[in-house]
């Protein structure tokens, strides 16, 4: 069953994130693909994540396909203008890539080429519209395509933004622009997430809650202070602290598993998107503890 079919069937869907390497050694990424294959429904392949230059998303998507794991091409607007974006989308389609996640992309100063010229010719909402047009056999200028695409496409949303109203407004625009699924920024407060879902359920879209494993109380505090749109509640920080240094990561895995189980059992959303950030090997463990495999 494809990622799209899985979501449409009402199955609780699991996606995870794969970060392409910096350099041409792809042994580790292939190992991660092998590890996740057959367990998750699809893998997001990041696009020069955090503006750090790496192998392009499209190449690793192709490698995932060849190794039996369905990819979701993450596509940001930071590094390509509208010609480059459309051209890459057509290229991805002929390589067999069927899912696209449309994002604006972190600003260049977040990464390792701070002196680069950022592009942002279009942004996430407009990129969604572009994909819709390509699916309908036309480019964004209205020219006929010889052979259209048939992408399943989605976007991101930050439910914990403060204030959340402007973010919800943009969410609505993304739905209007054609997004079929959303993967959220990491969420840690399930009650607060339920409030977001009340809003989201007004629209005919599938929502995958973002899960980022907490490795320690220090990491949780750091994210609270520095990462926009992430709010780790005090109780979780306490839980990690009282676990002690050696068991902090294991407790973090338990928290992730517990949240996933609750999201699924209480039918809060349509699935989860696990961002392991360098700990791809822990994804199967989390899934096992959540009772998904």
């Amino acid at each position: 069953m494809s990622f799209k079919e899985a979501l449409e069937s009402g199955k609780f869907v699991v996606t995870a994130e794969i970060g392409p390497p910096k350099g041409t050694d792809i042994h580790e990424v292939i190992h991660h693909i092998e590890l996740l294959k057959g367990k998750i429904d699809a893998a997001n392949v990041t696009d020069n994540q955090s503006a750090v230059m790496r192998i392009c998303s499209m190449a690793i998507c192709k490698i995932a396909l060849e190794n039996g794991l369905e990819p979701i091409l993450q596509m940001t607007c930071r590094d390509r203008n509208r010609i480059g974006l459309q051209s890459d989308l057509l290229g991805a389609y002929v390589l067999g890539i069927r899912n696209v996640l449309c994002m604006t992309g972190d600003y260049v100063t977040a990464g390792d080429h701070r002196d680069a010229k950022p592009v942002y010719d279009v942004e996430s909402v407009q990129l969604l519209q572009i994909v819709e047009k390509l699916n309908n056999g036309k480019d964004m200028a209205g020219n006929e395509l010889k052979g259209s695409t048939n992408f399943f496409y989605g976007a991101v949303v930050t439910p914990e933004s403060d204030p959340v109203e402007p973010q919800l407004l943009k969410f609505e625009k993304k739905v209007k622009a054609g997004a079929k699924f959303f993967q959220t920024q990491a969420i840690y407060d399930i009650e607060a997430f339920k409030n977001f879902m009340k809003e989201a359920r007004k629209f005919p879209v599938k929502i995958l809650a973002g899960i980022v494993v907490l490795k320690s109380a220090g990491m949780a505090n750091f994210m609270n202070k520095n990462v926009p749109g992430i709010r780790v509640p005090k109780e979780l920080i306490e839980e990690l602290k009282s676990a002690g240094k050696e068991k902090a990561l294991d407790t973090g895995l338990n928290i992730a598993a517990r949240h996933i189980k609750q999201l699924k059992d209480d039918n809060i959303c349509d699935g989860v998107h696990i961002m392991a950030i360098g700990m791809e090997d822990k994804v199967p463990i989390i899934m096992e503890r959540a009772g998904l495999i």
Binding site: R82, T104, P118, Y120, V125, Q126, S161, K176, V227
Partner: protein, 217 residues
């Protein structure tokens, strides 16, 4: 107005190192208002260059004048004589001023003493802030009079990215998130519904360089 700031003394010294008779030209327009290229700054730069060249074998001869508007050739007539007596010119105007000087006085090297930054205004704290990118396709009517093309580093046209924190920008934590400002302003104007409209990508052909406007005179 056009905001410019002076280059480092080291950079300026590097440009003029092989010249003795230097003529510094200030401009009475924007750069005078933003306190970077007016008469006072001409005098300061002149002193600074004199001091930094004091150990040279052949002493530098520095002269300075500020003209009303450097980007207008007719105002340049008054410095014909000064130019004739100099080896090089240092312009303290914006890039338009430097190029007007350089075009008018073709036989003498004209160097920029300034980096032209942007079109902006001053804030309460005395900083100069960029307000307009001169994109050639103004959308201020859609965004409550606040320009996201300029004031959002990503130039987003359809709302904030996920990166704003405490009302500040992801790329620059000292800068307010332009889309939050727009949201608040549209709320005040009772026009939040309008923010739900999807804005199309900009027509960058209207921004093709070099820009040209026919005033129809």
């Amino acid at each position: 107005m056009v905001i410019a700031e002076i280059k480092s003394l080291a950079d300026i010294n590097e440009m003029i190192k092989s010249f003795r008779k230097i003529f510094i030209v200030g401009c009475g327009e924007c750069v005078s208002v933003c306190l970077t290229g007016g008469q006072k700054q001409v005098e300061l730069l002149s002193s600074a260059l004199r001091i930094s060249g004091r150990n040279d074998k052949e002493k530098r001869i520095l002269k300075g004048k500020t003209i009303s508007r450097q980007c207008e050739p007719k105002f340049l007539e008054q410095i014909n004589k000064d130019i004739e007596e100099s080896d090089a010119v240092l312009s303290m105007a914006c890039g338009a001023g430097v190029q007007t000087l350089s075009e008018k006085f073709r036989k003498i090297p004209v160097f920029p003493a300034m980096d032209t930054k942007f079109i902006g205004v001053s804030d309460e704290a005395g900083n100069f802030i960029e307000m307009c990118s001169a994109c050639g396709d103004c959308i201020l009517s859609l965004t409550g009079g606040i320009c996201p093309v300029t004031r959002c580093p990503k130039g987003l046209l359809n709302g904030p990215c996920g990166g704003s924190k405490n009302g500040k920008c992801e790329a620059n934590p000292e800068t307010p998130c332009a889309w939050l400002l727009i949201y608040e302003k549209m709320k005040e104007l009772n026009k939040l519904e309008e923010l739900k409209n999807i804005n199309n990508p900009k027509d960058w052909s209207k921004n093709m360089r070099p820009g040209k406007v026919n005033a129809g005179i």
